[in-house]
């Protein structure tokens, strides 16, 4: 059985290699190959899952040691896999959702001449992500970690001819690099502390070292998680990442990649349990991000950016839960899975809408689309209900549990976190409803020619603004696209429910992430009801603003908060001013220094030597008699020296 694990990673890796090196001859069949391999690894995952279920809860973990990777002195890095319940959950999510998105992309990318490469990148991404979750040591995880970053770089920048896309890709990679820095430092700390960085030994011995060290490691891991999971303060790349094709957004920036941070923190639970301060930091980051994302989501008119905001906020929930320790890990993962379903579904829906609307992304150019694309409408709607946590749908179960856990974390912290989580839920309901209404209900604003609004640079005007305006003909997407949406919709409806049947999911994960029931000041019922109330409030608010009165085709200037939110709460501006400008100044200055000071010193010496010799040249008068004089002087000196030597 173990040998299958390598195959799990290998299949998509081979796919990537073949597709990227295959050349033109694969253009026609490439996408099928890619999809096939994704499905293959999904099937393998299922096989392993069945096998795992067959065994007792405790000895479910599988290990496979391929070969020793970097053996130098005490530094022993192996290429070895570990498949336990946590990894298995991720494997199924990644390969499952991944396969669906492969299928979806077949239709979505049909008209792109570089489709083969696209599938190659997708496979590469799957491989990297699987490596990330299957690694049995942090260094190998780091490989997957960066591999994911690379794949996302390639996919975000897939339409490289668009400068915005290229920039977004670069930004994503760089921000991720900052996070990676944290991870590598964490690994170094582990090596110096434990002499190894394999999960087993490190987590096993975590309790033996000082709390300070654990805190340090924990914070570094948190930094890494922030980078990959787009948490404040490293969240800025996620919005721009929407430049990539929609399936990419669905796969990477909703279902899988951004969840890597949650995986990391959950996986390193043992370390965080020993470092309360680190945990506090985690929950703070989570809480802040979930509100940040939610607020941003409210203001965006670009459907994908709105969804990106919601992703940010949902991941915030997970991080928050993961930061709560044993009472939260399981729910974090559970929310992660359900979120994987409905967020993928939502993104695919959005993609399908754009597909029907000539790649228009501005929701103010939508409206009343429900009768044109019913399937999309239904699936999107279900995803919507799921994400806002409508009772009975999967989002409800997972999110509700997190809010409970937040309250349960105890003391004022509990109240603050719980409050934040509740508030977040409300806002979520608001902006998702807003998306829903602006897209599928109301008047059909796309019939009128658009007038690009000045104060919204973020939304680039549709292609039709040039020349005669021909309204798009909204139509349902092909089977290859709708099928995945339907399947995902099923997931987003039922997954939560299934998981929660007498806490199946929690018990499934318990061997990996210890679980304990938090006892919250409020009863579960109270929390639930509170959640529902907040949720309804949010929906109502949204309906009052976007349902009752018609939505203006041109975004109103809006309050300061709105404008700030449109600009990602000015986070980008901050980066631009402080980091980019500052960096440019610094490099320019250094360039000058290098030229004038460092190199100048060298050239200066050269010049001075030249001048000196020029002066010495004067001695060469060319008058034989002065030469003779010098000779005589020299002779005199010699004689004198000799006399001295002989000790006169």
């Amino acid at each position: 059985m173990e040998s299958l694990i390598a195959l799990l990673v290998g299949a998509p890796l081979v796919g990537a290699a073949v597709l990227l090196c295959g050349g033109k001859r694969l253009d026609r069949t490439g996408h099928w190959l890619g999809t096939l391999l994704a499905v293959v690894s999904f099937v393998i995952g299922l096989v392993l899952f069945a096998d795992m279920l067959g065994r007792g809860a405790e000895d479910r973990a599988l290990h496979q040691h391929l070969f020793s990777w970097i053996p130098v002195g005490g530094f022993q890095a192996d290429v070895a896999f570990q498949l336990d319940q946590l990894s298995m959950t991720f494997v199924l999510l990644i390969t499952g959702v991944g396969s669906l998105i492969h299928i979806y992309s077949i239709g979505y990318m049909e008209h792109d001449e570089r489709r083969r490469r696209f599938f190659g990148y997708l496979n590469l991404f799957l491989a990297a992500m699987l490596l990330l979750v299957l690694a049995d040591n942090y260094l190998l995880l780091y490989v997957g970690w960066e591999g994911v970053g690379l794949a996302s770089y390639l996919l975000i920048g897939f339409w490289q001819h668009k400068p915005s896309a290229a920039t977004a890709a670069k930004k994503a990679f760089l921000v991720n690099r900052v996070g990676d820095m944290g991870l590598s430092i964490a690994i170094m700390l582990m090596f110096t502390t434990f002499g190894t960085f394999a999960f087993g030994p490190v987590l096993g011995a975590a309790s033996e070292t000082s709390e300070g060290m654990l805190t340090a490691i924990g914070l570094m891991l948190l930094l890494a998680a922030c980078g990959k999971s787009a948490q404040v303060p490293l969240q800025s790349w996620l919005g721009d990442a929407m430049e990539g094709p929609t399936p990419v957004s669905a796969l990477i920036h909703a279902a899988t990649m951004v969840t890597a941070g949650v995986y990391l923190i959950t996986r390193s639970g043992a370390i965080f349990n020993g470092a309360p301060d680190a945990q506090t930091a985690v929950v703070v980051v989570g809480a802040v991000t979930l509100l940040f994302g939610a607020i941003v989501g409210c203001a965006k008119d670009d459907i994908k950016k709105a969804l990106a905001g919601s992703t940010m906020s949902q991941i915030g929930y997970m991080i928050l839960a993961a930061g709560l320790g044993p009472i939260g890990y399981a729910f974090a993962i559970m929310h992660l899975v359900t979120h994987g379903f409905f967020k993928a579904g939502l993104f695919l829906g959005a993609g399908s809408v754009m597909h029907g609307m000539n790649d228009e992304v501005d929701m103010r150019r939508y409206g009343g689309l429900r009768k044109y694309m019913p399937i999309t409408f239904v699936t999107f709607g279900l995803g919507y209900l799921a994400i806002i946590g409508f009772p009975g749908l999967s989002g409800f179960f997972s999110k509700d549990k997190i809010i409970e856990a937040a309250f349960a974390s105890g003391g004022t912290q509990g109240w603050i976190l719980g409050g934040a989580a509740l508030l977040g839920a409300g806002i979520t309901a608001f902006y998702m409803t807003r998306v829903m209404l602006m897209t599928f209900f109301g008047e059909e604003r796309w019939r009128k020619a658009p007038t690009p609004s000045p104060d919204q640079p973020s939304v680039e005007p549709a292609a039709e603004t040039r020349g005669e305006y021909t309204p798009p003909h909204p139509h349902e997407s092909p089977k290859s696209m709708t099928l995945p949406m339907i399947l995902l919709a099923f997931g987003s409806v039922f997954a939560g429910g299934l998981f929660s049947i007498n806490e199946a999911f929690v018990h499934w994960l318990e061997p990996v992430t210890a679980f304990e029931h938090g006892h919250s000041p409020l009863s579960a019922a109270a929390v639930t009801s509170a959640t529902i109330v907040v949720l309804l409030l949010g929906v109502a608010l949204a309906w009052l603003q976007y349902g009752r009165k018609p939505v203006p085709a041109i975004a109103p200037r809006g309050s300061f908060l709105t404008r700030a939110a449109r600009r990602d709460l000015l986070q980008d501006d901050f980066n631009h001013v402080v980091l980019v400008r500052g960096g440019e100044q610094l490099t320019r200055a250094l360039e000058q220094i290098d030229h004038s000071v460092v190199d100048g010193a060298v050239n200066g010496t050269a010049v001075s030597v030249g001048g000196l010799s020029g002066r010495l040249r004067r001695l060469q008068t060319g008058y034989v008699r002065s030469y003779a004089l010098q000779m005589l002087g020299g002779a005199a000196v010699l004689v004198f020296a000799t006399l001295l030597m002989r000790g006169v």
Partner: protein, 285 residues
């Protein structure tokens, strides 16, 4: 010569002392003269004198062969060579002793003095007292002794000097030899050239106009009595060896006229006399 001298004994005789002090002084004077004389010829001559004295000293030191060679080669050959060259180029070479290089003279004096003092100091504390003369070295005769050394110990050096001399000779020829590139001009051509260039078509005028003064160093006079530059050799002029006699000759001319006029009791012609007198005075002036 006496065997004592031939031995060039360790101790020096009284005679040698006297000889040394006298001739040594002369030699030094000669050397100084060589350096300080304004004319190259004089330098050459005084140097020759010094060399001869040195030859004597060689003899006194039992280097008979060298002494002779010194006289023959140096004084006889090399110095003559010098004189020839002086004759070729030296006429103009009476260079002024004015120094052109800044500070050269003082520095030279300083360096020279310092060097000399150092040398002499060195010799001074060399404390050489005992000379083991050339008694046995010259026993078989000085020349034989030298020959034995030259053709055994120093034979290679000797061969080399031979080569050196040949090279020197060839070199000197190469340097001084002027390649004649074009055919020598005939009289006719020269004449034509002169006419063409229009400078001094006729032969140069002869120096001296009166029988008393037909020496080459006396310039001829032009009809108006002024001396003509063309009539004397430029070398003499350069050396400033032109005897300018025009003044007195004019004075005599004036006197002659006066006497003739008196003799003929011709009417007084003061103008001419005045004229002549003035001319004479100005010439003598």
């Amino acid at each position: 010569m006496s065997s004592a001298v031939l031995a060039a004994a360790a101790a020096t005789s009284m005679g040698e002392a006297v000889q040394f002090w006298v001739l040594g002084t002369v030699a030094v004077i000669g050397a100084l003269a060589t350096v300080l004389m304004r004319r190259a010829v004089h330098s050459a001559l005084s140097l020759a004198g010094t060399m001869i004295i040195l030859a004597v000293f060689y003899l006194a030191n039992g280097a008979y062969f060298l002494g002779i060679v010194q006289i023959v080669v140096y004084t006889g050959a090399i110095m003559m060579l010098f004189l020839f060259v002086v004759m070729l180029v030296g006429v103009t070479a009476a260079d002024s002793l004015k120094e052109t290089l800044k500070g050269q003279r003082w520095l030279a004096a300083a360096a020279g003095l310092g060097f000399g003092i150092l040398l002499i100091a060195g010799l001074g504390n060399a404390s050489v007292t005992h000379f083991n003369g050339l008694g046995e070295a010259n026993a078989g005769g000085n020349v034989q002794g030298l020959a034995a050394l030259i053709f055994t110990k120093y034979v290679f050096a000797f061969e080399l000097t031979g080569a050196l001399l040949i090279t020197a000779a060839v070199g000197a020829m190469v340097l001084t030899h002027k390649e004649r590139t074009e055919r020598a001009k005939t009289q006719r051509e020269l004449a034509e050239q002169r006419v063409r260039e229009g400078t001094q078509v006729v032969p140069l005028p002869a120096p001296g106009v009166y029988a008393r003064h037909n020496a080459v160093d006396v310039p001829g006079l032009l009809p108006d009595g002024t001396p003509s530059e063309l009539t004397v050799n430029p070398t003499l002029r350069k050396r400033g060896q032109i005897r300018d006699v025009s003044g007195e000759s004019l004075a005599e001319l004036a006197a002659l006229e006066r006497r003739s006029s008196e003799w003929l009791e011709r009417g007084e012609d003061p103008a001419r006399g005045e004229q002549a007198r003035e001319r004479g005075e100005e010439a003598t002036r």
